[in-house]
Amino acid sequence: MAKMTDSAGGCVFRPSAKDLCAFLSDYAGWLFSCGATCVRLEKNVGRIASAAGLRADLSIFPRHLHITVSDSCRSFLFTAVSSIHDCPVNFAMNTRLSKLSWDIADGNVDFVCARRELEEITTAPAGDNGRLPLMVACANGAFCRLFGGDAVAMAVVFVATFAGFIIKQVMGERRVDQRVTVVVCSFVSSVLAAADGLFALGSTPSIAIGTSVLYLVPGIPFINSFCDVVDRHYICAFGRLMNALVITACLSAGLCGGMVMMNVGMF
């Protein structure tokens, strides 16, 4: 399909306000869902709206986004509400969506192409899941070493993480609630990691069991919540923080259950 271009050779991005509102609502919903901060969301959405000669105002809530598109003198207003998608953090998607906003602002794509690009980005497969458990298990093993664990503790953490992460993937595919998944994975990983102490395999069993569940720590929601505080998006920051704290509580509950079951003391 031929792109619409202006006299300078740039693409014309001139959707109607209603179409732009629908587009931005989809765009913002996906950008927020894939792990973007509020400041990035506002900047990207504002950039796209400016390219169309309009303005966009956002209300960002933990589960929904309200977006209003208007002209500079407010002679018309269109509002759309989008729900936040329940998808894992995906920085590849975040990168492509941010790039799309710049392509629109720089006149590299017209509205039809932008719509198609958004569709393509949001339906692209998330990537190869096969190697992920191995990579995360290696990472958690290395993590164990950083905390002072010995070679046996590293091996035990590797196995515990590998098993826990595969369970996490299977439960994720079956759409099990994330909080239940974290409790189960944390429980399984801590039970497996308790082998280090129970069979007297190594000299740092407490580090093994403490490290075995750290792959479940919701680091990005914690970091994003602080970024939102800096940018004064307090409601959203609180929402993200609460979500992260609930996940951390689930992680602790699973860990505690595993330790009680295996009769492992903490001190």
Partner: protein, 165 residues
């Protein structure tokens, strides 16, 4: 000492690559995640083991987090990847996991031990580990995100196709 320093950087880099994979950054970001994590963790290691007793873990973590934040912002326009994609994997090796574990353990022991002496002992462990854990987390996040806001122009133009940055 050099071997310890090397090990610290190496394992931080491995941890960063593995944990980066969970948040699915673009492929070109992995190498930089590893380098930034190794640099940040090495800074903390050097500060904590420097001559004259070394720094306390909280200020050392703050300094390392600022280094990570600055590197993430500077690298992001070169790779056309948002700086946030580098922050989490690079910060993760500094997460106070053992302190968090001990805090949680001490809290459980407080509940199990009713006697005043043992309760006081475990409550002391709970407060001591909990405070250290909290402040490490706080300075980690503050230190790493402040450079993003200090260098907004670079941070938010990173993904621009024809960026001159």
């Amino acid at each position: 000492m050099f071997w310890q320093f090397f090990q610290d950087a190496l394992f931080a880099a491995i941890a960063a690559i593995g944990f980066a994979a969970i948040s699915r950054p673009p492929r070109r970001a992995y190498l930089f995640c590893a380098v930034i994590a190794a640099a940040g963790h090495s800074v903390r290691f050097m500060l904590m083991h420097s001559a004259g007793g070394g720094w306390h873990i909280v200020p050392a973590t703050a300094a390392a987090s600022v280094v990570i934040g600055i590197l993430a912002v500077l690298v992001s326009p070169k790779t056309k990847v948002p700086a946030e994609a580098y922050l989490y994997p690079a910060l993760l090796p500094m997460i106070p996991g053992v302190y968090a574990y001990r805090t949680f353990g001490a809290l459980v022991m407080c509940l199990y031990n009713g006697g005043e002496a043992s309760f006081s002992h475990y409550f002391y462990l709970f407060a001591s580990n909990g405070l250290t854990c909290f402040f490490i987390l706080l300075v980690m996040v503050v230190g790493a995100t402040v450079p993003i806001f200090m260098m907004k122009k670079i941070s938010f133009q990173a993904t621009r196709h024809n960026s001159s940055l």
